[in-house]
């Protein structure tokens, strides 16, 4: 479970996120939506422990800053940043060590194969294209074997095959009881994935829906009904 309680974050005098609270229950997929500048990235970075904030964030009930919480949490940032001098395989080895992950070599091979990176294991970080970096970032997050995973615009830069695979992987994670939070603008890409959605605007959550309450409405229909825009 991922719990956000009364989260506020300011950059100088600018209040980016104002007293935001929401919860993604165990084994569910949450979608965080909102126009540019709504405060999504600030929330994501706060959950990932990259910002100071007021309020509380709990991962499986543990405060997110604690090492025990970090051990079961994986993060795929919007813009992946590789270590220039580390190969793809070494990135995964590092993650395995840092998280004391019990992932086996066979499982690593399998993940890399799924994302068509098995033949690029010896490529260095600075030799990868943006799409490849995104794939490595996802593979590293999966190597953690997390209980909660946070994906920030994970489909950007991926080819259609990788997007399809990512969707399958997300559904597989859900089956295993992993809590997933995805922040995205590509509503149609997460249409068949979501269980609960949160819409943000100007630093606030302006509405949320459970799939059951949505009465079969499309994500974009729900989104535009809340933000006041028009469905294309």
């Amino acid at each position: 479970m991922l719990e956000i309680q009364g989260l506020s974050k300011s950059y100088g005098k600018n209040l980016a996120v104002d007293d935001v609270s929401f919860t993604v229950p165990d084994g569910q997929i949450g979608i965080l939506l909102g126009p540019n500048g709504a405060g999504k990235s600030t929330i994501i970075k706060s959950i990932a422990g990259l910002l100071r904030y007021k309020g509380g964030i709990r991962i499986q009930g543990i405060p997110s800053r604690q090492l025990d919480a970090k051990r079961i949490f994986a993060y795929v940032p919007e813009i992946p940043s590789m270590f220039d001098a580390l190969t793809v395989r070494e990135h995964i080895e590092y993650v395995r060590m840092a998280y004391s992950s019990d992932i086996t070599d066979e499982e690593v091979e399998e993940i890399l194969k799924e994302f068509e990176m098995d033949d690029k294991q010896e490529k260095l970080g600075n030799e990868l294209s943006k799409g490849m970096m995104q794939k490595v970032s996802i593979c590293c997050a999966l190597a953690v074997k997390p209980k909660v995973i946070l994906l920030d615009e994970p489909m950007v830069g991926l080819d259609p095959a990788a997007i399809k695979m990512l969707k399958e992987v997300v559904l597989r994670l859900k089956e295993r009881g992993v809590t997933v939070l995805i922040s995205t603008h590509m509503l149609e890409m997460v249409e068949e994935l979501w269980d609960v959605m949160f819409v943000m605007e100007k630093g606030h959550i302006i509405g949320s829906y459970n799939k059951a309450d949505a009465e079969g409405k499309d994500l974009d229909e729900l989104f535009f009904s809340m933000t006041g825009g028009e469905k294309s």
């Binding site: 990932a48 422990g49 990259l50 940043s81 220039d84 580390l86 070494e90 590293c140």
Partner: protein, 525 residues
Amino acid sequence: MRALIYLTKRSFINNLKKAVRKPSTLIVLIFGIAYGIFIIASLGMLAVEIRMDSVRGLLIVLTVWSIYSVLGNFMAYSSRKGIIFRPGHTHFVFTAPINPKLVLLNGAWMNYLVSIILWITFSIGGLTIFQVAPWKVLLFFMAGCVLETILEVAVMVFLYTNDHLPEKLMQGVRFAIKVFLVGFTLLVVLYFKRNGLSVESASNFIDWPVLQMLPVIGWQIAVYRLILLGPTTLNVICSCLYMITMLVCVAGVWRMRCDGGYYEEAAKFADDYAELKNKKKSGDVDLSIGGKKRKFRQVRERISARGAKAIFYRQLLEYKKEKFFIFSKATLIAVAIAFIFSYSLREAALESGAQGLFLLGIVAYMSLVMSGYLGKWENELKNPYLFLIPDSPVKKLWYATLMEHIKALVDGCIICIPIGIFWRVKPQDIVFCILIYAVLQADRLYTKVIAQFLVGEVFGKTGQNVIRMFIQMALLGLGAGAAVIIGIFVNTGLIFPILLIYSIMVTVAMGALASLRFDMMEQAV
């Protein structure tokens, strides 16, 4: 920690492998080391020459080091900027279940390396130049490399991880350090102005007991004095205070709670540092890190030019939005150099009676100095729209660089007119010098494009610059030689026009060749 050691080790090994595969990196590395050794050896010789080759000489060096370097480091740590993290750290390390203090300790490995190299250098200097007994060198190496590093690390961890210290207080600390350093420098300047600049006066200055009483840095100086000069009541007390401070700091930091609040600033610094490296790679002259977002002036203007001409008018619009129009740090450098030369060489120039030739020499020197500077035109080649504009490559080259020629002309005026008036150079010679400066700068631009075309990214920016300098010097050197010979044997008044005409001819030829680069984005190499 195992994961961080793995990260550092693998990065080091892979970088080494890459360097071995890429000869240009190895050449730069070897050249860098050789240059470093040369500088140190020169400093050593200088120390001997000015009779600083004694224990007291070493003490002067260590005192200056303790005050400026240690306080400088403290200032950087207090703004959480002293440790270089990369964007990869933000992605993979800050989010990992690793103790933030360990992340910090590991992130500072470069600082330890620099410290070790520095203290080895000091020790070698101590043994060879400053004639210090080996056992004393060993002791002072331990004090510098171990004790000083331990204290520095403790202060670093304290300043980075202590979220309870209000930002205002940290700003106050930084301000106080700055005030102290400026005040101290003023004091040193005044002291030497009154007592004369000599080893004796410097030695008397560092014997000033107040220096050893300064908290932390003064106590550190006292430790070096204790080791190198032997015990006195003052240096023993201050050394004890230093040890106690160190132990208290280490114990405090050990017990302090840290949940990674500093990741926010460290991540920002990692992005800023990555941006700085990119700027450096593309030859940008403004290498300030972080800071405020650049502000632009509001200009309401439409670009109505057609074809390649639109490139020039777009650049003009961009410059109009800049705070100081076409003037930048490069202009300031030009003004400063012109000012220094006009004063320092005035006597010699007037005595020789050939002030015009002196000015020509300065123009040639300035062309060399300003060779690292790049304007907006460099980015044109990275922009695919340049190649899509339906116009001839020659026109694209001309309009993409026209603004640079205008800037060169203005810089030429800034350099040549004041010096020319001050040195009483003939007006027509001043005009010739301005024009020659502008043409030389244009030649530099075009030759750079050709060098890029010839060697591509194989040898990097350094390789491109070496090739550019080689081509430029070979071609222009011929012209300069010919102009001088004609000047000596026929008429000295011909030197300027010959040089200008020849430079224009070479530059036009270079421009024609360089225009090929504006035909297609894909390059030969």
